[in-house]
């Protein structure tokens, strides 16, 4: 019996050690491992993260307004910068090729929202568009460097975007190369 239990014990511990050190022998390839994820996807992830955060903040401000904690003046003061930031993020996402409804790899659906949530979301997005139109933001304006401290995104920040199709272009162009609309 002694020998048998010694054998079982050794086997057990051996298996545990093998499991622990196996990656030294062969690393399982996983798309999500640290330095395999592409830079582009990292940027997209960060932007989507930022977008959700901004929407959350906008919601909070609207809620506080509805609960009558903010005067009209304070409300605009708080909301406009948020709209501006959200606008920038949406623009950059478009530039990277992300459209509404795009699905993440391996996930079923990013947005499984209820009707009310979808309504609120579209309200927020309408509000952002209204803000953009009100302030007549021209295609030549620089994206503001706020909230994104990740150095990898700087390359995206100094490009310009066409207001119609979101395509990026250089400083010399007079017409957008994608949709042909005139650059103001």
């Amino acid at each position: 019996m002694e020998f048998f239990s010694l054998f079982i014990l050794s086997l057990f511990f051996l298996m545990v050690f093998v499991f622990a050190f196996w990656p030294l022998v062969r690393v399982p390839v996983n798309l999500f491992d640290m330095n395999i994820v592409s830079e582009k996807n990292k940027k997209i992830s960060r932007l989507m993260f930022e977008r959700e955060n901004l929407y959350k903040n906008i919601l909070e401000v609207r809620f506080d307004r509805a609960m009558k904690k903010l005067s009209n003046e304070d409300y605009s003061k708080l909301l406009n910068p948020l709209n501006q930031k959200a606008l920038n993020v949406l623009r950059r996402l478009e530039a990277l090729g992300v459209k509404e409804g795009d699905v993440a790899f391996g996930e079923n659906q990013v947005n499984k929202n209820s009707n009310i949530e979808n309504d609120v979301r579209s309200e927020i997005e309408e509000e952002i568009l209204r803000y953009r139109n009100n302030n007549k933001i021209s295609a030549q304006e620089n994206a503001i460097q706020e909230n994104l401290s990740d150095k990898e995104i700087t390359s995206v920040e100094t490009t310009f975007y066409c207001t119609t199709c979101g395509n990026s272009f250089g400083t010399e162009d007079k017409f957008c190369s994608n949709c042909g609309s005139k650059i103001k």
């Binding site: 014990l9 996807n41 903040n57 609960m67 903010l70 005067s71 790899f105 391996g106 009310i116 949530e117």
Partner: protein, 658 residues
Amino acid sequence: MFLVDLGRYSIFFALLLSLASIFFSFFGGFLKNNRLTKVGSNSAISVFVLVVTASCSLIYLLMIRDYRVKYVANHVNNSLESFYRFSAFWGGQEGSLMLWLLLLCLYCFLVIRQNQKRNLDLMPFVTGTLMITAFFFLFLLSFMTLPFDLNNVPPIDGKGLNPLLQDWGMVIHPPNLYLGYVGYVVPFSFCIAALITGKLDNDWIQTIRRWTLFAWFFNGTGILLGGAWAYKELGWGGYWAWDPVENASLMPWLTGTAFLHSIIIQEKRGMLKVWNVVLIILTYLLTIFGTFVTRSGILSSVHAFANSNFGWVFLVYLLIALFLSFVLVFVRLKKLKSEHELESFFSREAGFLLNNVVFVSITFAIFWGTMFPVVSELVEGIKVTVGPPFFDQVNVPIGMFLLLLLGAGPLMAWRITSTSQIKKSFIVPTIVGLLGTSILLFFEVHHFYGVLAISLSIFSICAIIIEFHKGANLVKERTKLNYFTCIWFLTMNNKRRFGGYIVHLGMAILFVGIAASSAYQVTEEVRLRPGESFHVGSVRMRYEGVKQEVSNSYRAVRAKLSVFIKGYQIGSVSPERRIYFTPPQPTTEAGIRRGFFSDVYAVFSDVDSGGAASFKFMVNPLLNWIWFGGIVFSLGAIVCFLPDRWSRRKGQIFTLKE
């Protein structure tokens, strides 16, 4: 003996593998090498498997009563029911450390599983830090206090579990508290990882929010359950004694509460980054310190475990952890700069800041009060303790601010609440609060802090109820649903905000219970003969007589008293004096008549041949509001914990369908 070897070697190999995990995780993280980090996380999982194996071995040995093992012989005996044989796993020194370790490794495993697609930069360091703590406990269990030590001569019967501890409350209390305590190591590990990698934005904050809530919830309920148990079982009519062990469980909860609030500020406004990091480090250190205090004999306490001689190991670990953490913070100070400034006194940020200052001040006061004997002995050579008067005197005034904030916080908006709007929000709760004060004073309830505390609680409760009402009306405008559905909808779509409000509500109720039962408690000690009555406050106790009773495990003398208010009988109490058979020990069982407005509490002793007995009576006003407030608090915490659809994928890596 197979199980003993299995257990013993599992711990030993877990020790080695935890060391391996630390090295491979940290090196892999620095070199950004996948193979090494994978070995790190696999070793961590192996450590978990081994610790589970060792724990199961010990539990099995306890269940089959294998007295060859010292631990089994010390905590189990032949007549002990299986439930208590199982709970003996955490009943002793070695076992409770094993439970700590088991939970820690479980959490590590869960964290690794949860983060396979996210926080990729942080994870190696998170695993490494978790394993450092695990290594510490494995070290203790391998060299200082070994659970699988054998007896030279196995006894015929074990020593068994003390009857005072054979109670479901005492059984649940340690695991409950440990679920919380150990939970704090996870946010701490993420913090360290964030500091090391320099990724000090909101990723780590948003990942650990739920973990912190989880730990905080079990820590809080553990404290409340401990108090409830003490009240019922210990026979002195109180629920909190500012004992060092009690304080040790309270302090991490206080800093944890402060942390939960201030991470919200960092998420929203990018402020208080240094503060957050310091708070969670402090919480972790207080957790280790708490585990140390209960074992080292450094502080005299009626609760403490057997004095051990390895307290110094804890102290060394604490000092090293303290030093290294603060070096890290110092190095990363530049990256922890605030993005915004405070804009107004009347904002949630200001409220949260004040809240933080209050919590940290209270923690500071409790810490020094608890450590005072040690310090005074070192400095002056005499050991001086501070008793409950110190803690009450210092904490009560500071706590008043907390009561105010419970209501004022929800009333304010982020960044700035317009001055014109403040008046509108505050006016109704303030009036109701003042109304409460005048009612109390009218009924000649005089006690400065008692009245103040209750008034402020009324203010807060009113403020929160109004917030719910206003919000429900908003929802009603949009959806035309019925009022209560609107409240449900409101809460479920703003879980963090309204879950938090529910927690505040619970705390306000709890504080009313604490204030009333402390400030207005009535105690009387008297000797009565059967048939005699006695007045305690507004209650009359009539002593009916004694009876003898026998059960399987004890023999008891039971007294019966009827309780009257204004001539009407509202119930009866039946305190007992029991003598257990094995091991022979007397206990006192209090007779409690619980009620909405007050508790009537009675213990007795020294019954003579004529049936006369010495009684101690207490009337504790609003005591049950404490437990009720605790239940509301728990529900609110659960609401906060539930997942939001929007925030489900924090930090996740998205890839486009190519």
